[in-house]
């Protein structure tokens, strides 16, 4: 088990490393030096000199690559042209916001999705199942940004139940210093998290339903009934425990979806996260920011996938005891 774990972690590291290399190649194909700007406006010479010293403008590609890696290891990801400060600082402000959004969406996704999936499996092929299944299919097919717009229109503009954007009320609660301000943050989080969470839940519900139905057809479910267990215990203990296993892999797949969705949803809700930062950066031709964001997003995806694999190995006794 530990040998497997070591190999799996090594594989993740290798993947991230390859992504870093590919990004380096891509950036170099487009722009030879860190001073060059697409629209011809040069950086101030002081900044340019400093960057060149750090990244080695005139030196062979391999040296530049090594310096690039060394820089990454220290958290130097270049200078943001648009914000005139290190990329790492700009991202440092943005990433926690994206993470908050992603975690909230993930919670909604799995809580709602699992409950719906279990309910649908229990009512399989009856009206509740069919109706919910069609609704889930529709929600799963919606563009995330469009759902965000609809929710914004209905709940923020027409009903005025929720705010139209931002993470918090900048006037009344500039700092997170009271319970009221925490509540304000949650209030602002609801609509964007719902947007991503609902679409994710629709997908999770479909998978969970299929997994439950598959398990319900197994022989050991019949054995459990033959032992005189209540139907509730059969479903919630014997069936669910087995049906949850494939759902863990969904957890790993949720990360790419959430990060991609964040790009669009953050734009709609003016949520100052990684996605919105990238989009604004493109408008300013600020490619160091976008590059760094792409790298971090990939690292998160790789991490999420690793977590899911580890969780699965721990949860399934058939894999957990393989070494014994």
């Amino acid at each position: 088990m530990t040998a497997w774990l070591a190999r799996r972690v090594a594989a993740s590291v290798a993947i991230v490393f390859t992504v870093v290399t590919l990004t380096f190649v891509l950036v170099h194909l487009a722009h030879g030096t860190p001073c060059g700007q697409p629209d011809g406006q040069p950086l101030p010479p002081e900044t340019c000199r400093r960057l060149c010293a750090e990244f080695g403008c005139d030196q062979p590609l391999v040296v530049q690559y090594v310096k690039y890696l060394a820089g990454l290891a220290h958290g130097h990801m270049g200078q943001s042209f648009g914000q005139h400060r290190p990329v790492i600082d700009a991202l440092g402000d943005a990433i926690p916001n994206t993470l908050t959004l992603a975690v909230a969406a993930l919670l909604i996704d799995f809580a709602l999705g699992l409950a719906l999936g279990i309910y649908q499996a229990a009512r399989a092929r009856r009206f509740g199942d069919v109706a919910l299944g069609n609704v889930a299919l529709f929600v799963n097919s919606m563009p995330a940004f469009w759902l965000g717009l609809v929710l914004l229109l209905v709940f923020a503009q027409w009903l005025r139940w929720f705010p139209v954007g931002g993470t918090h009320d900048v006037v009344l609660c500039p700092a997170l210093d009271s319970l009221r301000c925490a509540g304000d943050r949650v209030w602002h989080l609801v609509l964007p998290a719902l947007t991503l969470g609902l679409i994710g839940a629709a997908n999770t519900a479909r998978f969970q339903r299929a997994a439950m139905l598959e398990v319900l057809g197994q022989d050991y479910v019949r054995t459990a009934r033959a032992k005189g267990l209540s139907e509730r215990r059969v479903v919630l203990v014997h069936v669910l425990r087995n049906a949850l296993l494939p759902i863990i892999t969904l957890f790993g797949l949720a990360f790419p979806f959430l990060l991609a969705g964040a790009v669009l949803v953050e734009t709609i809700f003016a949520w100052p996260g990684m996605g919105r930062l990238s989009v604004t950066a493109i408008g300013q031709r600020d490619y160091p920011v976008v590059t760094a964001a792409a790298l971090i997003a990939s690292a998160m995806v790789a991490l999420g996938s690793l977590l899911a694999d580890v969780l699965y190995a721990v949860a399934d006794p058939r894999i957990r005891t393989r070494g014994e």
């Binding site: 991230v16 069609n134 563009p143 940004f145 991609a260 997003a297």
Partner: protein
């Protein structure tokens, strides 16, 4: 909307129904075909797809106005749906329904082309990896792992950031080249099991080289995951293209990509919600139909059901 456009619309509906009936008739002859239609959403899915295809092909006939025409920016901008403007007008006084009809061409066109590219590359890579195994397999699958680690939209954003604007053909190419990783895994799994079957040994005993064996013998039998990937893949591409166009990095305005239409309607969303709502609804319906058909195909072509 004139009489002729109403007739053309009716014609599109009738044509779509005819397609459903014909597909149903042919499918009844085979077991997978019957399994396909046992899904309650399969037939409606085919109908919606056929309808969108019909209006895309017959756009000049179905759309009452050209997609670029600003009818009367002083008087009919941001008008709600009416008899004259079926789905209302946008901020530039263009007919929303006409733009949606022409937009179907963009969505279906980009969707199909990018999907074809992705599925072709994915099937080829998966087949080669599954057939040759060993280091070829390991290297290719490592590549797939890397590809799956980078969220597709970030790659596209990165390219836009580095090179500035991206032309539509290049966009299709990039979307296709970033979307084959999942398909390759599925095809590889299928090929790994197929290569142990007798017909492969028979072909090789007759002197067939690897290329021939892969393309003429193995891949046709691995068609099931390829077909399902294709159906579901178009849906993903449509959503991705819409997102990029919404952000301004995809199909450029004034072309009526549904994503661009949503972006254009966004600033005026409270005054004229229809300009953003209907394009989004069109995207949802199209992707929903593709998902429904893809799911039904997956169950219909499932080899385990074959044995049951």
């Amino acid at each position: 909307m004139s009489v002729w456009t109403w007739l053309a619309l009716a014609g599109a509906v009738v044509a779509a129904l005819a397609v459903v009936a014909e597909v149903r008739r042919r499918a009844a002859a085979s077991a997978p075909g019957r399994r396909f239609f046992r899904h309650p959403t399969a037939a409606p899915g085919i109908f919606v797809l056929a309808f969108f295809l019909a209006i895309a092909l017959a756009a000049p006939l179905v759309a009452p106005y050209p997609w670029y025409l600003q009818i009367d920016i002083v008087h009919v901008a941001d008008r709600p749906p009416s008899a004259r403007f079926l789905l209302g007008t946008d901020l530039y006084s263009r007919d929303v329904w006409s733009r949606i009809v022409y937009g179907a061409r963009i969505s279906l066109g980009i969707g199909t082309l990018a999907m074809l590219l992705a599925v072709t590359v994915g099937a080829a890579v998966g087949a080669v990896a599954g057939y040759f195994r060993r280091w070829v397999d390991t290297t290719l699958m490592r590549l797939v792992d890397v590809g799956l680690a980078m969220p597709r939209i970030f790659v596209l954003l990165l390219v836009v950031a580095l090179w500035g604007h991206v032309s539509v053909p290049l966009l299709v190419l990039l979307i296709g080249l970033t979307g084959w990783f999942g398909t390759s895994r599925l095809v590889r799994a299928e090929v790994l099991s197929l290569r142990e079957r007798e017909f492969v040994a028979a072909a090789r005993a007759l002197g067939a080289g690897p290329t021939r064996v892969i393309f003429r013998h193995v891949l046709p039998n691995a068609a099931a995951p390829i077909i399902v990937s294709a159906a579901l893949g178009i849906g993903n591409v449509v959503l991705l293209e819409a997102g990029l166009s919404f952000l301004g990095f995809g199909v450029p305005a004034p072309r009526p990509s549904w994503g661009t239409m949503i972006a254009e309607g966004w600033p005026k969303i409270t005054a004229a919600p229809w300009a953003s709502l209907f394009p989004g609804l069109a995207i949802s319906l199209l992707v929903m139909a593709l998902n429904a058909v893809g799911d039904a195909l997956r169950d219909a072509l499932d080899p385990r059901k074959e044995a049951a």
